[in-house]
Symmetry: C2
Subunit: 134 residues, 2 copies
């Protein structure tokens, strides 16, 4: 449960998202990955995920900046559950930036090339249990 | 994200654990499953998980009673992230029973027989980020 190659993957994925380099961001997902976009709505597969990330960037007026805090990785065979503090910042080009820290959940799978990729990306974590579907 | 066959699996697994029928409980895990026993310590594979469940039953003086609350299942291919309210009750044969509700995380995999089995069992959920290793 200490430093794990997945940590570097998440940091690089956040960096790609912050730069709005969605082609690079897609490298971090498996082909059949699922991204929770908002409570009650998910994007399935790279085409939908790419579209959802572009829409989120637009929604946050291109000021979204995501960083990773404490992270725990629990491996089982070729699969890992990841629990990560995720800091979601968006200044919205205003004097009142929003900053939210979430306890995200991810599921990663190790591929035949030994690289870990994200299968499930749920930045809301258990907060989904309390949030009404959008 | 509505009713899902995994809900019935979790209910049946809880029932097996409550009856201390550890042979039955093992049916719900994959061969390479990981169970978070306490913060910082995990059991890997069925032999270790069986031992850990027996030790937990002992620790709770055979009064452990686990039930499932609201549950969200997020599928990606043959894999699913599960977020579930888990009520952990143990009366410890005393007048002051303990009751704790946790937001558990599970990862399930659908096998060749189409049955979903648990790969990662983390009843602590994101609370692991705050809990010191035991």
């Amino acid at each position: 449960m200490h430093t794990h190659p997945i940590n570097a993957m998440i940091a690089a994925a956040n960096d790609a998202i912050n730069r709005e380099d969605f082609d690079a961001a897609m490298d971090f997902y498996t082909d059949d990955a699922t991204l929770v976009v908002v409570p009650g709505r998910a994007a399935n597969g790279k085409t939908e995920i790419r579209k959802a990330l572009a829409a989120l960037a637009e929604h946050f007026q291109h000021t979204l900046y995501v960083t990773q805090g404490d992270t725990i990785v629990i491996e089982a065979g070729d699969t890992a559950l990841v629990i990560a503090q995720t800091n979601v910042r968006a200044n919205m080009k205003s004097a009142s930036p929003s900053l939210e820290t979430r306890n995200a959940n991810y599921v990663f799978r190790r591929g035949a090339d030994d690289k870990w990729r994200c299968m499930v990306d749920n930045s809301y974590g258990a907060a989904l249990l309390a949030l009404p579907p959008v």
